[in-house]
Symmetry: C2
Subunit: 172 residues, 2 copies
């Protein structure tokens, strides 16, 4: 907790400048706890890395997009990702599509309402203690709580350390 | 069958020019049967419209992308889509992600190997008899057969006539 608070307070302004270069840093820009990550400007127009589906209680369809630095790293098989790489995971409810032409049980599922936006920002110095990545999870534009952000790094490190702690691979 | 053949033969060159403006039309460019649709150059870098999940025997994760004309139409709620709009649906096998940190049954699913690329091209004159859209389905760069392409329009028209026969809605 102490470590997190220290990191958070020292990163708030650096992150606002570094992660959203087109937005003037203002006091009311939403930052994630621990990491001070903000929602990057224009991410909905970025190219996509891959889709994903989360079953169970989350029940989501997802698309992971990357900024130019991240996409270039993917396409050139560059690991670790260079500083300045940003990945954004957009998530929506996984909802069935009822076909008029086929009254049977739905087999197709589409994106329903948006549930969350999750962000990874690479800065090997700023985030040296968490594999070089800062994390942020936002629901309706509001960052989720510190307890949730404390789970990001440990799960990524435990599962995908060999891939610069990034789960998503490029879907060609 | 007669109608299809006539359309196909008259469209092969028009489509090669209209759909892939950056590629010189050559005899060995792959065209879909009936419609003469080709795989558009650079579609993997296009912005995405939405993800989808097809269960059952197809068992696929999908991402639908659009060219600039199609994305502008989505973002401005413009229907019908203007001529020149192109939508591409990329599909991959829906494969489970085994977590090292959680040995239980997988709840997350990622994109496995690519299965097919499906294309819709809007040209209200050329494709007047099929709702203004031409269709193409390609597996490993090769168009699938005519019988499969004869199913496209009827299913789209039966299910999503009110949305310019396009299934996919924009995921914000």
């Amino acid at each position: 907790m102490m470590r997190s608070s220290v990191i958070a307070s020292s990163l708030i302004f650096a992150s606002a400048i570094g992660v959203t270069p087109l937005a003037a840093p203002t006091a009311n820009v939403e930052h994630s706890p621990i990491y001070g990550v903000t929602i990057p400007v224009g991410y909905r127009n970025w190219q996509f890395v891959a889709p994903a589906h989360e079953g169970g209680s989350l029940n989501e369809l997802r698309v992971i997009v990357g900024n130019d630095k991240a996409m270039k790293a993917y396409r050139t098989d560059t690991l670790p990702f260079p500083d300045g790489s940003i990945l954004v995971k957009l998530a929506w409810r996984h909802v069935p599509l009822a076909l008029k032409s086929d009254p049977g049980p739905p087999q197709a599922f589409l994106a329903g309402h948006a549930t969350s936006v999750q962000i990874m920002v690479k800065d090997s110095k700023k985030y040296a203690s968490t594999g070089g990545w800062g994390f942020g999870k936002f629901i309706d534009g509001k960052a989720t709580d510190e307890a949730q952000h404390q789970t990001c790094f440990s799960c990524h490190e435990a599962n995908v350390k060999e891939h610069d702690i990034v789960f998503t691979h490029y879907a060609p």
